[in-house]
Amino acid sequence: MGKTMIEKIIRRAAGREVKVGERVWCDIDLSTARDFGGANCVLQFEEVTDKKGKVWNPDKVAFTFDLQAPSHSEKVSNNQKIIREFAKKQGITKVFDVDWGIGQHVLLENGLVKPGDVILGTDSHMNLLGGVGAFATGVGNTDIVASWFEGTNWFRVPETMKITVTGKFKKGVCMRDLLTHIVGTLGADGMFFLATEFYGETIENSSLAERITLCSMVTEMSGKVGLIMPNGEVLDWLVGRAGNEVKERVKTLAADPDAVYVKELEFNVDDLEPMTSCPDAPDNVKKVREVAGEHVDQVHIGSCSNGRFEDITAAFEVLKAGGFKVAPGMRAIVTPATREVMLQCAKAGYIQKFLEAGVIFTNPTCALCTAEHYGALPSGDVGMSTTNRNFIGKVGKGSHTYLASPMTAMATAVRGKITDPRDILG
C-alpha cells in the first residue's frame, strides 16, 4: 500500500515505519518561537530546568519577532529582551529581531525550511510552510519547551485528504478566492486533524506566494498541514535558498501513486468569482458581488496569508487601474510580509505610489492581526483584510471584518465600499 506525503515525512522524522492514527515521537528539525509565546517558552524552560538547562541543539532553535514589531509597550519590550538574553546564553544565533518580518516567511527566505522538515512554532499558521512540503505546525509553549530537551516531540500520524485543482483564474480572481471558496465549502472543521495534499495544473503552475496563501488557511479548516511538493520555479527558488538537498527530499517524500486518501475533492477555477469571508467567521463565505456596496472603514493588505510581493503587486495593479487614489475617509494599510518583500516593493517603485495615493505602507509585521498594536478597529467599524481570521472582535471589540483577496481589498479601498475588483480592472 502506498504512502502519503505526511506518512513519509513522519516516517523519516521517526526513523521507522508508521501507521495512520499511531502516536509517534519525531526528531524536530527546527523549533521556533516568536516574540509572542517566546518569553513564555523561555521562562518555562528556565523554571523546569532550574535555569541550568541547555537546548538540545542551538542551531535548530530560532526566534522570530513579528507579532508586535517594533514593540509597542514596555511589557512586550521586556518579553523580547527575555528572548534575546536567553538566545545569547544558549548560543542560539538564529534570532530574527523586529526588523525582519513575519516568522515563517523569514525562515523560508533564509533557507531554514526544506521539504520534509518537521518544524514547530508558536504560530498557528506555521503550517503555511507546507507550501514547500515541510511539516510545520503551530504549538503552544509547552510543546516548544519539551522539544528543547532532546529535540523530539509526539505526533499523531494523520489521515490525508487530496484536493485537485484545475483551470485558470480569470482576471481579478486569484488563489485567495479559491481558498475562500474551499473554506466556505468545507467549513471551519472541514479538514479536522487531517493533512491535505494539493495537486492539479492550477497548483503545479502556481507561484510560491500562491502556495503559501493556500496552505496558510488549512488551520481555518482545523487541518494539520497542507502539503505541496515544490516543482518548477518554486523548486529552483527553494534550492537557491536551502540547498541541493531539497531536490533529494522532493524525490523521496512525494506521495506514492497508490497512496490512500480519506477524501478526494476536485475544484475547477475557470468560472470562479472573487469571494469573501463575511463577518464573523472565515467559513461565512459569499461572492464579493453579493455584498458589493457595503460600507468599509479600513482595508488591510498583508499578513502571513497574503503579504508577499506578488500579493502586493496584485493590489498595486488595482490601485493603478483605479487612478492611484483611495476613497476619502478610507484608511488603507499595506504591510509586506518581510523586509525582503519590502525591499522588492521599494525597488519596484510601489512605495512612493502607495504613499501618494493615501495608502499607509508599514514595516513588515503581524501586528494588524491583533487588537493590541497599530490598526486596531474601534467598536462598530467594519474592516476588510487579507488576513486569515475574522473572528468577532479579533482586531477590536465590537468591530467586524471581511476577509478577501488583495485585489478585492484594494478595489474596496479605492471605492470606499465593498467592490468586485473586476469593476475596476475591467
Partner: protein, 175 residues
Amino acid sequence: MEKKILRGRAWVFGDDVDTDLIYHNKYLAETDPKKMPQYSFEYYPGKENFAKEVKEGDFIVAGTNFGCGSSREHAVYCLKYAGIPVVLAESFSRIYYRNAINNGYPVLFVNGLSQAIKDGKIKDGDELEVDLEKGEIKDITNGNSFHGDAVADLEMDIMKAGGLIEYLKEKAAGK
C-alpha cells in the same frame, strides 16, 4: 488526574469557540499563567462576566471545534487556573487539544454535545456530575446524560504524569 466524581455548574458555549473568544490577543504579552484567568471569555458576547462569576469546580461545556484559532497556551491556562476541572466539548481543535494534554489538563470529547446544546438539553447553570475515569456526564438539573470518548494511551500517560514536561522527565529518569 483526580479520580473522584466531580460536581459543578455548567457554562455552556456553542461551536467553533475560538481562542480570541477564550483569551483575547490583547493579553498575549502576559507570561504568568496564574494571572490569565482574569481575562477569560472577556470578548465572548454574553459571557463577558465569566471571569468575575466563575467558581472553582465549574465546567465548560461546548460544541464542536473548541479552541480553534491561535496556538496560544494562554487559552488553556486561563481555564485551568480558574479552577475549571475539565472542559467538555463535542470536539477540540488540534492545537488546543495538545496544549491541554501537555499541561495534564483534562479535556473530554463528548458525543452529541453540539446538538444537545442547540436543543437546550444542557444549559448554562445546570448542575453536572462528571466521572472522568468512565467519561460519564450527568446533567442533574434535567436528567440527561452524555458519554465521552476514551483518551488514547499516549495522551493518557502524559496526563497521568501531569503534563508533557513531567512525562519527559519521568522518561529520562527511567520511570
